[in-house]
């Protein structure tokens, strides 16, 4: 039995090699799959179109039959007015249909998440302070949000996490996004292995990769393993479990108290936010944003119309931070607007400004503050 068992195990590589597709074959598979999906969609759209067309024709016929004849009796012509057959008065200017005026919106470039290097650079993708729905929009395959305490919600519903498996080269890691009161505070990978040599090799490889971005880390011994940190924001740890399994975990994490502890040693997240905030208030008359990533405030866009105050939209204000390099942060002040009239837009509209902040310098790298543009648009709808 053992011999045959071994023989079968040894065949695994031959089997896998026998089924590798060439690049050309892979391309063809991708093209054929996407063509089939698009063909299915067109078929559904044509079917819907037929239904809508027939319905539309039926409604039009009914309208003409029921309402058409009456219009000749109800309409009264003004002596100085020329009325067209459709009853439109030419003394009044025609209104441009508001549906032709586009809602202000910002298009962002697509996410790079193809190569292993892209995926390792998770600090470029995830901002401290982002929401689960934003993360889910980036990654539809992200799992549901669950309490980190399982079903016992009395221990703290504020702390939640969502996971998704990610292929890194030939290995699979689990990416865990951790949220506190709906805001991301950590994005970490984890891999497990029973092969000490392999997992240590992987650890060294990651340290080399991240050191090219963040410089040399600090290493320290921890219980059951080792930990390396490039800042209180980004680190890696390898630990051994009692059952012989090794766990390698790495990624970014924002801990306010830890950040505070490092304040005198390095340029911290909070310091970066403070610097960006003072620059932001100089540049525009905007209300203050939350000073901590993870906090959120609300704001209303109010106007006075005909002596009455009306709320056109409400916004959730957030401060988000991304790590760019050693002691270099991208701080974003963001407003997520929801219009009061759902027919105008049922999706949130983002308005934001981003600063690159170092110890010595704050520079605006992106200004997508569309508050005034949005207000003008909404006023035109009134």
């Amino acid at each position: 039995m053992d011999n045959l068992d071994q023989e079968l195990k040894q065949r695994k590589i031959l089997v896998h090699q026998s089924f590798e597709l060439s690049e050309e074959e892979l391309k063809q598979l991708e093209l054929r799959t996407i063509s089939t999906i698009r063909a299915h969609k067109n078929k559904r759209n044509r079917s819907h179109l037929r239904i809508f067309t027939f319905s539309g024709i039926a409604v039009a016929i009914l309208t003409i039959l029921l309402i058409g004849p009456r219009s000749f009796f109800l309409q009264k012509d003004e002596p100085n007015q020329v009325s067209t057959p459709l009853g439109i008065s030419v003394t009044q200017p025609l209104e441009v249909p508001t549906s032709f005026i586009p809602l202000p919106d910002i298009q962002a470039p697509p996410l790079a998440w193809q190569t292993e290097q892209d995926k390792l650079a998770l600090f470029q993708v995830f901002s401290i302070g982002m929401t689960y729905s934003e993360a889910k929009e980036l990654f539809p395959e992200l799992g549901e949000l669950t309490s980190i305490f399982g079903s016992d919600s009395s221990l703290g519903i504020d702390l939640q996490e969502a996971t998704m498996p990610v292929s890194l080269g030939k290995n699979q890691a689990l990416l865990t996004l951790s949220f506190n009161k709906g805001s991301l505070y950590a994005a970490r990978y984890q891999r497990e292995s029973r092969n000490e040599q392999e997992i240590n090799h992987e650890k060294d490889r990651l340290i080399t990769s991240y050191s090219s971005v963040f410089g040399n880390p600090q290493e320290e011994q921890i219980e059951n393993g080792t930990s390396v940190t490039w800042s209180p924001f980004f680190g890696l740890a390898l630990t051994k479990n009692y059952d012989g399994r090794y766990f390698l975990g790495w990624g970014l994490q924002f801990d306010e108290s830890l950040d505070e502890m490092y304040r005198n040693r390095i340029f911290t997240v909070q310091e970066a936010i403070e610097k960006a905030m003072s620059k932001n208030s100089n540049n525009q008359e905007s209300p203050a944003f939350p000073s901590r990533p993870g906090d959120s405030w609300n704001e209303e866009m109010n106007v006075t119309l005909g002596g009455k105050q009306k709320t056109l939209a409400t916004a959730t204000l957030r401060t988000k931070v991304k790590l760019q390099a050693t002691e270099t942060y991208l701080v974003t002040f963001e407003k997520e607007w929801i219009t009061t009239e759902k027919k105008i837009s049922d999706k949130p509209i983002k308005s934001f400004t981003t600063y690159r902040v170092t110890k010595d310098k704050v520079e605006m790298v992106e200004n997508n503050n569309i508050d005034e543009e949005l207000k003008s648009f909404l006023l035109r709808q009134e």
């Binding site: 695994k12 089997v15 026998s18 598979l29 991708e30 089939t36 697509p110 996410l111 760019q324």
Partner: protein, 183 residues
């Protein structure tokens, strides 16, 4: 380092990533069942189309590979029950002597004339599927049980019986070619 502004990753991007990372396991698994390269390619395409259409129901509690295994196995089993397959089966059996590309030849070619692999592929489906998933896909018996929706004890028994059948076949005692065996 240039900051990237993330936009929603489209379902199409997810699909392309899955095709890139998992095309081999889907194609392999399909071949284990249908034992024909071009049919396995067609099934692989169908699997990715289905996975795209069901992407919104994909939950993070399973890995994409597990989910794709499941869709592939179900698609293959539907194919094996279909009229199309049975027509091909009867035709190839009838014209076996004339066909230069019969099922057995496909397997021979694919596995570079390895006797053990050919013998594995000649097993009845219920033994073949557990043997290939256990040895070639390196799944645990619990994972195979979940995938095939069987008890773990059933999986262990089938692996053991499959090994026994292999041993007999390799010694020359059992020549049940799958084309003539009820699955």
């Amino acid at each position: 380092m240039i900051p990237l502004k993330p936009l929603g990753k489209t379902n199409e991007q997810v699909l392309k990533e899955w095709i890139s990372n998992h095309h081999d396991l889907v194609f392999r698994t399909a071949f284990y069942y249908v034992k024909n390269k071009s049919t396995a390619e067609d099934i692989a395409q169908e699997v990715f189309v289905k996975s795209y259409e069901k992407l919104d129901s994909f939950r993070g509690d399973a890995t994409p590979s597990t989910w794709l295994y499941r869709i592939t196995i179900n698609t293959c089993k539907d194919y094996l029950k279909s009229w199309t397959y049975r027509k091909v089966l009867y035709t190839s059996t009838f014209f076996e002597n004339r066909s230069s590309h019969s099922v057995e030849n496909q397997v021979l070619e694919q596995f570079q004339n390895d006797e053990l692999l050919q013998t594995v592929m000649a097993l009845p489906t219920k033994y073949r599927e557990v043997i290939v998933l256990y040895y070639f896909e390196e799944m645990k018996t619990s994972e195979i049980a979940t995938l095939l929706q069987l008890k773990e004890s059933t999986i262990r028994v089938r692996i053991a019986r499959g090994i026994e059948k292999l041993r007999k076949s390799l010694k020359g005692g059992d020549h049940e070619w799958i084309t003539l065996t009820k699955n």
